[in-house]
């Protein structure tokens, strides 16, 4: 399968700068140079000749050039720390270069040289421990070295990129949650799914990747829907074709074919020659919508996924109400949201109803560690959210037969 080594025209690339900020770029026909934050523009020719995973660094001559990944972490062979900070004063007097000196340096030197100058003009650098020196250089490099790392637009990379830029853009959906939702809903090639995706289209896109063109994803929407993630994943045409939009109004109406979304286009405008082409397009679109809707209604789906943010709770409940009857017995229902109370209420109702089994409400506690010889510990972040949001999942069961009260069930 396609695992391109280089970003190509028409594809996306994720760039990460030395401070860790990430941005997605589309290398479309109109794309000239890439502008990453405050960095000078990176010419497209250079970008297209740089493989995924590589680093480009801005050198003293003003050019962006390949830079190898360094494996240079401090050796642990003599990790015994002798020095300490007993005689270090924190009065900002250690650095003899002034900010304007640094600015001048940056005009003529590479980022590396600036970092070197800062270290050699620091009165305390030499007396620091080996680990402290390494940390100092790394911090200065983050600030002064201009470099970008090329990353593949995978579901995980995009999710982290969007999440870092704005949590609300992906309604707080972290990559571990995204993957968990797909697993819990058993999204697999050949399956049929209904999804409400308020997370920048990333859930829909990741589902389309799993389906690989076999099966169907019916994307429920009201008004419009974000497609950013869906496009930036660089899906193939076959993968994209498995995703069909369905308006909520058509699902909730008793007469779906009289809703605006499904109503056939009127022919009034078609008489004017200018509008004829447009009317034709509209008729094609109407036929497609009708076909999609009928295809959904032909059979129940294997899974229902609802990923909604803080402002979409009402929509999530509306979608849940109209979509649950379309979920086949044995199918999975998976909801993601930021608030516990509505999830807990559904969990209680589902457990008591007899119409569901395996009803689980969970969160994921995920934290990242710094892993360095003799310095491994969780990253220290003052405002971290180790648990983000809630996942409610369950299997729907057929509840039409004769029923004994749930109390009679064997408890384990």
């Amino acid at each position: 399968m396609a695992f391109p080594a280089f970003p190509a025209r028409g594809a996306h690339v994720v760039l990460r700068d030395s401070e860790g900020a990430q941005k997605v770029f589309f290398l479309g026909a109109n794309c000239q140079d890439l502008r990453m934050g405050k960095y000078p523009a990176i010419p497209l020719d250079t970008v297209l000749a740089t493989p995924y995973g590589a680093i480009l660094r801005r050198e003293a001559n003003g050019k962006w050039q390949r830079h190898r990944h360094s494996s240079g972490e401090a050796d642990t062979a003599d990790a015994e720390v002798q020095e300490n900070n007993q005689h270090l004063a924190q009065d900002n007097s250690a650095q003899s270069l002034t900010p304007s000196d640094v600015r001048d340096l940056k005009k003529t030197c590479s980022g590396d040289a600036v970092v070197e100058a800062l270290a050699s003009n620091s009165a305390t650098f030499a007396s620091k421990t080996k680990f402290a020196k390494e940390k100092y250089l790394k911090k200065k490099a983050q600030k002064h070295v201009q470099q970008v790392t090329f990353l593949r637009p995978s579901a995980m990379e995009l999710c982290e990129t969007y999440y870092k830029a704005s949590r609300s853009k992906v309604c707080g959906l972290r990559y571990d949650y995204l993957s968990s939702i797909l697993c819990q809903a058993d999204v697999r090639s050949g399956g049929r799914y209904l999804v409400l995706d308020c997370a920048a289209g990333l859930v829909t896109g990741a589902m389309a990747q799993q389906l690989a063109g076999v099966g169907q994803v019916f994307r429920v929407f009201k008004g419009g829907f974000p497609e950013k993630g869906f496009f930036e994943l660089d899906l193939s045409e076959a993968e994209k074709a498995a995703v069909r939009p369905i308006a909520v109004e058509a699902l909730s109406s008793h007469e779906p074919f009289s809703t605006e979304w499904l109503r056939p286009a009127s022919n009034a405008e078609a008489e004017e020659p200018v509008a004829a082409g447009r009317a034709e397009a509209r008729a094609t679109r109407a036929r497609q919508r009708k076909a999609d809707f009928e295809s959904l209604e032909a059979q129940p789906v294997h899974g229902l996924l609802i990923v909604a943010g803080e402002d979409e709770l009402d929509l999530a409940m509306e979608v849940l109400e109209v979509c649950l009857p379309r979920l086949s017995p044995g199918g999975r229902a998976v909801l993601f949201g930021q608030h516990m109370q509505p999830m807990a209420a559904l969990q209680g109702q589902w457990r008591a109803s007899g119409g569901f089994v395996d009803v689980r409400l969970m969160q994921l506690f995920t934290r990242e560690f710094q892993v360095l010889p003799a310095r491994t510990h969780p990253f220290m972040v003052s405002e971290s959210q180790l648990c983000e949001g809630f996942i409610l999942c369950a299997s729907k069961v057929d509840n039409t037969g004769p029923e004994e009260p749930p109390a009679k069930r064997v408890c384990s």
Binding site: A5, T76, P329, T366, K408, V410
Partner: protein, 295 residues
């Protein structure tokens, strides 16, 4: 209803009894599954649609008939080794970008919990090559994959990858590697033989020292973005605020009436509580192989 929606003879299905009683069963005419819920005759299960409640002949207790999703397989499988659970599995699927068409290697196979999930994620068009150095465990795992119907996508081999590598046929042809080994650092050299540039390797280890050694080895061997992660599932239970506790039922009549009023006010309220969780499973370490022109 299409035949796909019904359980057929030979299907590997899940019979769900409770959160801790989840049975994986291959349906066969004439056979009976016996458990604490009663005796379940396969003849009465075959042909039923998924999502049905199937009853035991005596006692009237039911089990829910469900599809064998990887999640349920994890809950139902026989533990031959310590197994990897949902949070770690879904995380590593994400880290490896496991999806149809990709080729992934796993060592060791263990009880097959990860293999079942990866295998499903790679279908169609992909392949999971899973390696186990314990001969008997490999045989059992192979039998399980046949039972789960995964042989079209999973290849199971008896092999010690730390000493013997992944095999010539996989050289430069693998998009991702997952290592669940006691000494993952010892396999890094062999991983580099099979992993494509830009491919990812993920290891799962319970101890910090294992991660530390592996990370050092990976950095030395031309891998970048070496990240260490820990992920745990936090489970929540729920109960009806109205449901009376035993303690309260023993109180005086007056107190009871008072409580009934209080109950009425709480009608429809649900109380959440945190359920016991695994406090530690293992650390995941992920690293990306450098581009081809960097050794």
């Amino acid at each position: 209803m299409t035949s796909e929606e019904c359980a057929r003879e030979g299907d590997f299905v899940i019979l769900w009894g409770s959160y801790t009683q989840i049975f994986g069963v291959v349906l066969k005419h004439g056979e009976i599954t016996n458990n604490r819920f009663g005796n379940f005759h396969h003849d009465e299960i075959i042909g039923r649609s998924y999502g049905s409640k199937v009853r035991s002949r005596k006692g009237g207790l039911w089990l829910a008939l469900l599809r064998a999703s990887p999640e349920f397989v994890t809950h139902s499988l026989t533990h031959r080794t310590q197994i990897v659970y949902h949070a770690d599995i879904s995380m590593l699927r994400c880290l490896l970008d496991a999806r149809p068409g990709r080729v992934i290697c796993e060592a060791g196979t263990g009880s097959g919990s990860v293999s079942a999930s990866l295998g499903r994620a790679l279908r169609p068009g992909g392949r999971l090559h899973t390696f186990e150095f314990h001969e008997e465990r490999q045989r059992q795992a192979q039998a399980d994959f046949e039972k789960y119907g995964l042989l079209d996508v999973v290849t199971s081999r008896h092999r010690d990858v730390c000493n013997n590598g992944f095999g010539e046929d996989l050289r430069g042809a693998v998009h991702g590697v997952f290592l669940d080994l006691p000494a993952p650092w010892a396999a890094v050299g062999h991983v580099s033989e099979v992993l494509v540039p830009g491919g990812k390797v993920v290891t799962f280890s319970p101890c910090v020292e294992q991660v530390d050694k592996t990370a050092t080895e990976l950095r030395r061997s031309g891998y970048f973005d070496v990240r260490m992660l820990e992920t745990l599932a936090v489970n929540w239970g729920v109960r009806d605020a109205e449901a009376k506790s035993k303690k309260r039922r023993l109180g005086s009549k007056e107190a009871e009436e008072k409580e009934e009023d209080a109950d009425a006010a709480r009608r429809g309220e649900w109380l959440s509580y945190q359920m016991p969780m695994r406090s530690h499973t293992g650390y995941l370490l992920v690293a990306t192989r450098c581009p081809a022109d960097e050794p």
